[in-house]
Every structure is written in C-alpha cells, then in structure tokens.
Amino acid sequence: MQRKQLEEGIGRILSKYGTVEAGEDSRKLVLLTEGGAFDSVTALEVILKLEKQFNIVIRDDEVCAENLASFDAIARFVQAKLLNG
C-alpha cells in the first residue's frame, strides 16, 4: 500500500472525530493522551478501526504513545505493521 493511500485511510478514521486538519503541524499534534483530543474510549474505537481497515492486529504491548499518539505516529506504525506483518 502506498504511503499516501495509507495516510488517506488514517485521515478518514481520525476525521470522524473532527480533530484532524491538513498541514504538518496537525500531523504531529498529540491526539491520544490524557487531556488530549481523544479520550480512552475514542482511542479504543480508533484501534478497532485501524485493525479492520488495514487488516492488522495491534498487540497489547503495541498500544502506547510511541505508536498511536499522533497522526504521524499512527501512519509510521501502520506502515511498519504492513511491511513486517
């Protein structure tokens, strides 16, 4: 899957929650964190949708800020998952 296609898919998932806008700054914005734009229930929804849309399994030890906190982090993580299985 192309990076652009992947980012569009992630953008569609995140845009449902009305927080992702175009531009470099918003891509680095930390969304999933205490007091961030997404609460823990929304984070669960995002994880489930990522798994479904990209046909991946996110393990418990992969549920962390490094992989899922921002748009960029999610894109990097999903791409790695798709490459490495």
């Binding site: 964190t33 205490e34 229930v41 984070a43 929804e45």
Partner: protein, 294 residues
C-alpha cells in the same frame, strides 16, 4: 476491635471448619438480629443508618422505616463479609444464592459476541455475581479501577482458578486505560461475560439521569460509550437479599441498542430496585453530602 465469626474463621483454620458447618441462611438471619442489637451498642451503626433515616423519613411509615433501616444495617454488615462468606460456602452456592433469568444470559451468549452484565454501582451484592457465574462454568471478568487489586483478589480467594478475575484501569494512566479496554474487547471476542457497575455521578448529561426520590443522579456516560463501541449484548443484573436469608441474582432482558436508549432503560431497571429496595444502596451518605461521584 470487633471480629465476626466469618472474620475469625479466616484467621483460625479450626473455626473455618466450624463456619462451613453453619448453614449460610442461619448466619445471614443472625446478621439481621445482630444489626438490630448493634444500633444500640455501636455509635458507628447509628451513624450508618442516619443518612437512610434522613432521606426516607417521610417516605415510609415509622414502623416500615425502622424495619428498612435495620435491613440497611444488616445489608451493610453482610456486604462487608460477602467475600468471606464466599470463601466459606463457595462449595454450595445453591444453599444461599439463586439465579433468575439465566436464560437471558445463555441466549445472549449464543450470538458469540460476549455479554456485558451491568449492575448498579454500590448497590446490592453485585460483587458476588462473577464468582457465582464462574462456578456455573461461565467465563467471567469484572472491570473496575485499580485502587486495591491485591486486596480484592485476595479476599475472594481462588478466583483465577475459578475462571474469573478483575481487570483494572489505573486512574490517571491513559495508556493503561486504553489497554484495559483492549483486553475487555478481546475477552468479548472470546465470548466472555464482562461484569461492570458504572459509577453514579452528581452531575452529567441529561440522557444519563436517574430521577429518584426528589433527587437526580447520573450514570457514567463513559461505560455506556464503551458498551456501545463493543456492540455486545448488555444485560442488567442485580443481586439483592431475600426474606429467607438468601441472595437472589436477577438477570434482566437485553437493553436496546444505542447509548441513550440503553442508559435510559438501564436507569429504569435500576430505579425499580431503588424504589423497592432502597436499603440495598450504600450511597445515600455520599448523595446527601453531594460528593461528585459515588
């Protein structure tokens, strides 16, 4: 320090043998008598009954109020010891615990999506629900916050061996909460029964309101969101005492889909219990003191 037979039986193995020989119904009937005496002897018992008397003083006739207040004290004493009671009489739950509406649970599990069992927070003997169902062969997990996990698990004895355990979230740890929700979702995928009791709040969204006896409280919106996201059947489930000295677990039919509809219907079921058995709630003091949640 006052120790009851159940408490002492955990300290002295010989007494545990003796406790096991006592029929649980007798013990619970004795609890009612001792609650009646305790209100004369212990100031603490009088303090525990006071919020109930303050709140329902003009709802019940004096004789009825007195009986209910004593039942409330009995309940508070029994509730404290319910984990110990389980450890003493877990091998014969049929002597003191009955389940009604189990067909709702089996029918819901037949869909293969797991089931949420939802109880009112700080109401009745809801902590007894997971071990009783696990003993019947259901795969049960109970959700809650992680204030004292070791204590809770220890008090209930061999819960892991029986096939049920708590999963926790840690207050203030975002990723721990997300992982807990993930664990919960995986358990539902395995067709598990998840037992939760969402908090009651002083404030909240109007759709979450429960209107009870001139006061309102609000159900925990977050747990209803979780249940909506997981899309598993949701069954209200309550455990209250009976006049015969036993505990009855009642499982109700599934709630409708949609967060607001499910909260509204659960609120109605909870309200019925509160109206019929206000003595089985432990939050009257917190409600009167207007704490943020209870």
């Amino acid at each position: 320090m006052r120790l009851t037979l159940l408490q002492m039986s955990q300290l002295l193995p010989g007494l545990l043998v003796l406790t096991r020989a006592v029929p649980p119904r007798w013990y619970f009937k004795w609890s009612l008598r001792s609650a009646s005496m305790a209100r004369y002897v212990y100031p603490h018992a009088r303090r525990q009954a006071q919020p109930f008397l303050d709140l329902f003083g003009d709802r019940f006739e004096p004789a009825e109020l007195k009986k209910r207040a004593l039942d409330h004290l009995t309940y508070r004493r029994m509730y404290k010891e319910i984990a110990l009671a389980w450890r003493s009489w877990e091998d014969r739950p049929e002597d003191w615990v009955s389940i009604a509406g189990e067909q709702h649970l089996t029918e819901a599990l037949a869909a293969g999506k797991g089931v949420f069992l939802v109880s009112g927070h700080n109401y009745g003997f809801s902590r007894l629900i997971p071990p009783v169902l696990a003993r019947k062969g259901y795969q049960v997990q109970r959700g809650g916050n992680g204030k004292k996990p070791s204590e809770r698990e220890g008090r209930w004895g061999k819960n892991y061996e029986l096939g049920w355990h708590y999963f926790y979230y840690q207050e203030g740890d975002y990723w721990h909460r997300v992982k807990m929700l993930r664990t919960l979702h995986r358990a539902l995928d395995r067709n598990a029964v998840i037992h939760i009791s969402p908090l009651n709040y002083r404030n909240g969204r109007p759709e979450m309101a429960v209107d009870f006896w001139r006061r309102k409280f609000y159900l925990d919106d977050k747990w209803f969101r979780v249940m909506e996201v997981c899309q598993a059947p949701i069954l209200p489930c309550f455990a209250v005492g009976t006049a015969g000295g036993t505990i009855k677990i009642q499982i109700h039919p599934p709630l409708p889909a949609g967060r607001e509809a499910m909260a509204s219907q659960f609120g109605k079921v909870f309200l019925t219990y509160l109206q019929d058995h206000p003595e089985y709630a432990r939050f009257w003091g917190a409600m009167l003191k207007e704490r943020p949640w209870w």
